[in-house]
Symmetry: C4
Subunit: 203 residues, 4 copies
């Protein structure tokens, strides 16, 4: 660790602490979201049933954070150097993710209303765009010919996610169900692991 500090030319290469901090924030987000699913006020199945929408939205939000954690993990494993813009893009991603408990709590209580559904979509959209910026900042810091640069060529899944979140946010104005389908599609799409990074490493 000591040697590592001095053996590299640039100050911002080491990804360890960036990963640790991001892990910490995402771990707290997940747990706080679950915590904001309030225990029913009565000990009955029908009271639990009323908590249903909150629990379902929690499953969706948990998937979203889980996917970001997973992709963040793969992305930074391939990354060799980070720069100041990478630091800030990562913080901005964490900012949007940190709004997720707020949005999740609101949509959980009001799953059929325009304002809560659209807000949830916009927070998801903010996180999606931030992740895309993070990827580009990392590529700029490492070069397009670096491992990570070649791995993320043509970030189709990223752009599709952003598109689905945008469409879902707009759909939220007319149909909550349509919006949820869009948000859910993103989760389903990403549960399949990002083969780009796996392939690059496996050769």
């Amino acid at each position: 660790m000591r040697n590592q500090k001095h053996s590299h030319g640039s100050a911002l290469e080491n990804t360890d602490r960036l990963e640790a901090f991001s892990d910490g924030v995402m771990a707290v987000i997940i747990t706080l979201m679950a915590f904001s699913v309030k225990a029913p006020a009565a000990p009955t199945w029908s009271a639990l049933h009323h908590t249903g929408p909150s629990l379902l939205v929690y499953v969706l939000s948990f998937s979203m954070v889980g996917i970001y954690w997973n992709n963040h993990h793969h992305l930074l494993r391939t990354t060799e150097r980070i720069s100041a813009p990478v630091m800030w893009c990562n913080l901005i991603l964490l900012f949007w993710l940190s709004l997720l408990p707020f949005a999740t709590s609101w949509i959980g209580r009001f799953p059929n209303h325009v304002a809560s559904v659209v807000t949830y979509g916009l927070v998801s959209l903010g996180a999606g765009i931030s992740f895309s910026f993070l990827v580009h900042a990392i590529v700029r810091a490492n070069g397009v010919d670096s491992d990570v640069g070649r791995a993320v060529q043509g970030d189709l899944k990223g752009f599709t996610s952003i598109g689905l979140y945008a469409v879902g946010s707009l759909l939220g104005f007319v149909s909550a169900l349509g919006a949820f389908i869009c948000f859910g599609l993103v989760a389903v799409m990403w549960v399949i692991p990002d083969r780009r990074f796996v392939r690059r490493h496996a050769h």
Copy 2:
């Protein structure tokens, strides 16, 4: 750390970040559960006495998370490589554990009701089954002849836990006390450390 990233053939070997993230989630779960034991509204012993069931259930849930942390620690110490399914099984385990504060808060307030007791049992059961899947995903990624593969042969304790949680959940429909005894038995059984991993390493 840099060298490590490049010296291995497969992308998903390193268990560091998986452990760090799981530690983070479990640390927050433990603390949030304690936090959801609300300070009594009056400064009297009888008010504290009313908090008794919540505190007792907290002790049970703390033991459960402590045991998972302990076993997770032993399991991943023996693990040499992780795969995409390992990542997802781990996230699913964290999902079920993250519902524990919710279930603990509910059963703490209503320790003698079917709905809260059965829900607590089902969340515990979900975590138990997920841990079992995690073990199997790790064995599949490392091979049955690997250190971890031989260490977990015949996962009797794991299956007994799942069985006790299932029986406890069913018992919850007729007797809260019976359910608690089942849940408590799992904790007692696991407080004895898993000799399998210790033995394998010690040779």
Copy 3:
């Protein structure tokens, strides 16, 4: 990291994850305690003044956790191997510390009542005794002639802390002020860093 896993004979030597998990729990405890100091309901200085006791108790509890973190850090830096009892003693210490937000919140609201003051003392006492057990479990795992074994010889400060918490808890029955003085003395005593570990390492 890989090599490390295999180069040691015993399964339980590495202290990294134990430290990481403990850090996580203590970090969350500190922040949750601060969070449980509720923002005043009115934007006035007198409303803030009402929050005074909560803030003062938070300062005391923050010091306590800060001191445990500090001592835990020094203790585990000197530790070479951990055993199953060390794992459990550490979990029991974290259990008592995790009750601190509960006790802090209660005593903050009722700083002049027997039940809340004594409860706060008992939780502190539980943490103090657990830390003492942790120290002994570590010495047993490393031997009295190990670095850590010689470093903790005659744990006077530890026993004094336990004594002060016990006396403070008893004093709580007759004088809240007396109890607070005892609890505060422990903090003052420990803010002076533990020279034992510093000296041992510095030679």
Copy 4:
């Protein structure tokens, strides 16, 4: 890691755990602040609009913690040895930062009142002064001719921040807007990364 423990002469050199603990506290602070932005009680845009001040203050506080994390990261990367005073200065910085959710929650609800605005300013001032003390403790432990000693020479930005927080706190007595402008200026000033550390490392 084992070797590292024994190969250095002084007990307090390793910055790993100090960074990990600080990361944990800052990660929880960020997420708890977001969490204290309560979801609106009604599913309408006007209800969300009422949450506006809370969200804006959250953006400001998030920036503040993000900046501290960033600077803390740069500072400790350059640091070779830590001492007991460094440990305590770091804890005091975390103490002030841990009060930020409290201050943020209060000012978010009452953005136009003297008490809440001034309190927010004083907490920020406390954190700013603590960070300055931390820098000086680190320089004292490493020597003015060390990497970190030369990097922080003439800590103009640090002193400007403290000045702006002090002025903002005073301005809070006459103009909430003036205070916010001061607090915001600090954030803007720091978003530009600290070239001192980057330059020193890059040569």
